[in-house]
Amino acid sequence: MTTATAPAGYNFAYLDEGTKRMIRRAILKAIAIPGYQVPFGSREMPLAYGWGTGGMQVTAAVIGASDRLKVIDQGADDTTNAVSIRRFFARTAGVATTERTAEATIIQTRHRIPERPLREGQVLVYQVPMPEPLRFIEPRESETRKMHALVEYGAMHVRLYEDIAAHGRITTAYGYPVLVNGRYVMSPSPIPKFDNPKMDMMPALQLFGAGREKRIYAVPPYTPVRSLDFDDHPFAIERGDQPCALCGSTDTYLDEVVVDDRGGRVFVCSDSDHCGERQEAGRAAPARA
């Protein structure tokens, strides 16, 4: 656990109070209208666009001195993006950080939802590159806003139709569009569709920040989130048929890791914290072979 004091010259959590207030207003509106994209005045962050500037601004706006922050990138706590953002808040806000999902109050994430079910009181902050799920079919912002306003979501199914027509099944594997609270179609950010069911009725608050596109949206706790599908091609999650090479888990999302230059590869849990916990538990009681 790191505890540092904020360096002189920086406000708590980097952003100035006026900016944080503006972002909080956007967040409150986003929570009030689940799935609706609220525009906000995205700031320059000391990080390139595409590296999580949206998520960082949301985190900076909601974090308090007593919070405990966890940052994951593709499920792992030890990748460059996760390490640098975690250290950024440790230094500018002086908050405690952790790699344990259970201990964290705020979890900023890129591309994954932790395997361990989240509980009430936790906040999950997603980094979003492309907040508009309709963009692929309609390039005009004025038009997509109108489509959201009038619930014209037929075009979303054209995308799924094309998948089935070309491949015999829905092949969209990440960023799989969802319908939030029976009203707004929302991009869940590029999480694998394996994680989509976890969003449904989640006890934790889910916030989404897109820095370059200047949008914030949210899913309040216990909100229904349904993945779009066809009656005769229902939504289904996909998972490799192997167990994790490290912890033996058969129900987690796996990453493929190349281990040598002769084509050797193993599959391991992408959630490094969950995998580590299972390995520890396995060492303590090696009951299963």
Binding site: I137, K146, L150, E152, G154, A155, H157, V158, Y161, E162, I164, A165, A166, D229, F230, D231, D232, H233
Partner: protein, 258 residues
Amino acid sequence: MTEAPLLRVRGLSHAYGSRIACSAVDVEVWPGEVLAIVGESGSGKSTLLNCISGRMRPGAGEVLYRAKDGREVDLWQASDAQRRLLARTELGMVHQNPRDGLRLGVSAGGNVGERLMAVGARNYGAIRATAAEWLARVEIDVGRIDDLPRTFSGGMQQRLQIARVLVSRPRLVFLDEPTGGLDVSVQARLLDLLRSLSRDLGLASIIVTHDLAVARLLAHRICVMRGGEVVEDGLTDRVLDDPRHPYTQLLVSSVLPP
């Protein structure tokens, strides 16, 4: 069936700055009727069509459409939601250039199915079967259902666009120069197709064209426009065989005999 007009346009005017495109146009279309709007380039035909098809707000005037439930809706007094709902269910628009009316990055089946999905169809098998049926109706080989429209010829693209519009069983279809840019034999097949489809479906349509032969073949009635005004209208044969207005006379006499 014909107790009330399907569409009534009253005093429709539109100007682009100081240039007047349409002035006080009155038009009526009855159920099952095909109306041709003819005139030279710049006579205001396309402006009129854009205004009455709900795609461009006119400067003045009313566009009264009698919806399926019998009520008359002024398209430009109605809410955006209602106008857009009508535009993708009861009305249809066939563009001169199929690229404007099709999604070129989406397969033929997806193009035809879109209007079904837009009104809530959620069964892939049923959507696909309907799409295949409509491709057959517009004489496109069903084996090409998964091909992209950009691999189609111009005539096929135009027929695909027609299938895409008609699949939702609209009651009134707007066609803007549907045969423009096609060679004569393809034009003839397309006209044949349009004529049989509109007869089979009891479809009312408004066709904008500068080709009097197209108007003669398809239309029951003709409106002749010039300088933003309707100078003459009446039954097709009457207007073409016995034109009264000097401009119509000029128009009819300037058609080259083949």
